[in-house]
């Protein structure tokens, strides 16, 4: 049945492409989560009236985040080609897509982290300080747990965006479903391959969103 509907689809290729997309998404989401969290916390703590209030550091970090956030992803990929080449020695393959994916997504997630942290009741941070908590304790035991639902729903949004980014990265040869749809589907005029790749991407996005929503609700005790 499937073979009649999608006569040109090579299922082994499709599976490999799916694996590559998942691989790129999972790895880049993981690193983006850590990097975005670090940058977001830095942005939060250096903003006015916070523990590390520092205009210069805040302005610098915030500018960097804004610059990388405003470059269209496809342009960023091209701009980062020399950097990727320097870092990995090649610009082809799944790994080669990772620097661009992370640099594109981490500033975006850092903004979401900042928004999440700003939602924390200032009084709770003050209470922790009044108990004699160190800044590291405040980060690990107040900031992160108290904003966890927002941090998780933020990383879900970011992961979904990253699936889209992997498809774009695919066009310049990173592999994955975007690459398959472009090379096998578009360039060879096999519409069914493009359609099947789209369906698989949709399924991945739905599953990501479902998992994200589930964990977010689970952690929210408000």
């Amino acid at each position: 049945m499937l073979n009649q509907l999608f006569p040109n689809v090579d299922w082994l290729d499709m599976w490999e492409a799916t694996y590559d997309t998942l691989y790129m998404t999972v790895i880049s989401t993981g690193i983006t989560f850590v990097l975005g969290l670090v940058i977001g916390i830095l942005l939060f703590l250096t903003s006015p009236h916070q523990i590390w209030a520092n205009k210069l550091v805040n302005l610098l970090t915030s500018s960097l985040v804004n610059i990388f956030r405003s470059i269209p992803f496809i342009v960023l990929v091209i701009l980062l080609i020399p950097f990727t080449k320097f870092l990995l020695g090649t610009i082809r393959g799944v790994e080669a897509a990772l620097p661009a994916l992370i640099i594109g997504a981490a500033p975006f997630y850092a903004r979401l982290v900042l928004i999440a942290l700003r939602e924390i009741d200032k009084g709770v941070i003050e209470a922790a300080r009044s108990m004699g908590a160190k800044t590291s304790t405040i980060i690990w035991k107040v900031l992160i747990p108290e904003s966890l639902p927002a941090l998780l729903s933020g990383i879900t949004v970011t992961a979904v965006a990253l699936v889209g980014y992997t498809a774009m990265a695919g066009i310049i040869g990173a592999g994955g479903l975007g690459n398959l749809a472009f090379i096998d589907g578009f360039q060879r005029s096999r519409d069914d391959v493009t359609q099947m790749a789209t369906i698989v991407i949709l399924v991945i996005v739905f599953i990501l969103q479902f998992i994200g929503d589930f964990i977010t609700t689970k952690t929210d005790k408000r």
Partner: protein, 341 residues
């Protein structure tokens, strides 16, 4: 125990300097419940935050428990804070933690071992009357229960001082009284020094030993609660005293009485301590040829005894009324003749 010397706090903002606290000198004794009362913007919040170093004074020194809070920082300040706890108007509990985890938080900060922590948390839960609610999250608790968690959390590291930042302002009157009773009980049982800020005179007279009245960053009046009650000097203090003696509401009825009974005198009598139990009114009616009409009456309990006010109209021949007033004064009852406004 707590010494504030020459304290001023100036905030620099875009629109110029704002003086939140100005030339404050205060001395609070060990084991005392000290109240600071003032309307919002009077500088009370800044004052209480100076005591645990959340705010640093622009001038002057803050000494708590033999330590110069205004001079230390870093680890030293963090360790000092473990002995100066604070509870808050909006409780400031971590919603992501259960009751017992919230109470354990300051113990984690102090580096108390896990088994020890569990034992201490259990004691505290019993102390504040939250047994059975250990596993509940703050969102499942009432305001009064949340403040009990706040108090348990504040007591976890056996502090010397407890700072209360409008701790009952978000609670209904009944819950307020229950929380105040708990604070009073803790003060008596543990000998804890309590400093509280509030805008409610009710809180001051119910549990405080001494009070300071703040207005525009300055302490305008301070002393024993009963004494300040008796002889309010500043206009603002008189306003606060009216809050509890209820004389504000009676102003209208006095106006009405003055209209209805143009003869005689409207007199405000203030009774303190045991004098509230003397049958003075029936005495003046028996001894002199006067009529007494009660306009308003009120008794307030304070930590150092009851305090009552009575507003009466005394009518009769002028000399008889004078004699009656003299008798009242001879009984050490404050009398104040109220005239047409």
């Amino acid at each position: 125990m707590i010494e504030l010397k020459g304290i001023s706090k100036i905030y620099r903002t875009k629109n110029g300097e704002i003086t939140a606290v100005k030339d404050v000198n205060l001395s609070i004794k060990k084991g005392e419940i000290f109240g600071i009362i003032g309307y919002s913007g009077a500088g009370k919040s800044t004052m209480i935050r100076l005591l645990n170093g959340l705010e640093k004074p622009s001038t002057g020194t803050v000494e708590v428990n033999g330590q110069q809070i205004s001079a230390i920082s870093g680890t030293q300040l963090r360790q000092a804070r473990q002995k100066i706890s604070m509870i808050f108007q909006h409780f400031n509990l971590l919603w992501s933690r259960t009751v017992e985890e919230n109470i354990a938080f300051p113990l984690e900060i102090a580096g108390v071992a896990k088994a020890e922590r569990a034992k201490r948390v259990k004691e505290l839960i019993d102390l504040v009357g939250l047994t059975g609610r250990e596993k509940a999250y703050p969102s499942q608790l009432s305001g009064g229960q949340k403040q009990r968690v706040g108090i348990a959390r504040a007591l976890a590291n056996n502090p010397e001082v407890l700072l209360c930042d409008e701790a009952t302002s978000a609670l209904d009157p009944e819950t307020t009284d229950a929380i105040l009773d708990l604070l009073l009980d803790i003060n008596k049982r543990l000998g804890l020094t309590i400093v509280l800020i509030t805008h409610e005179m009710h809180v001051i007279h119910k549990i405080c030993h001494r009070v300071a009245v703040m207005e525009a960053g300055q302490v305008v009046e301070s002393g024993e609660v009963l004494h300040v009650f008796q002889n309010p000097q500043a206009e603002i203090t008189k306003n606060f005293v009216m809050q509890v003696s209820g004389t504000k509401e009676s102003k209208e009825s006095i106006e009405q009485i003055l209209v209805n009974y143009p003869t005689g005198k409207i007199v405000k009598l203030t009774f303190i301590g045991n004098k509230t139990e003397q049958p003075v009114i029936s005495q003046i009616i028996k001894e002199f040829d006067v009529e007494v009409n009660i306009v308003h009456g009120n008794i307030t309990q304070t930590t150092s005894g009851p305090y009552g006010t009575l507003i009466v109209q005394i009518d009769g021949k002028a000399n008889q009324v004078e004699e009656a007033l003299k008798l009242l004064e001879s009984r050490e009852i404050q009398t104040e003749v109220i005239d047409h406004a």
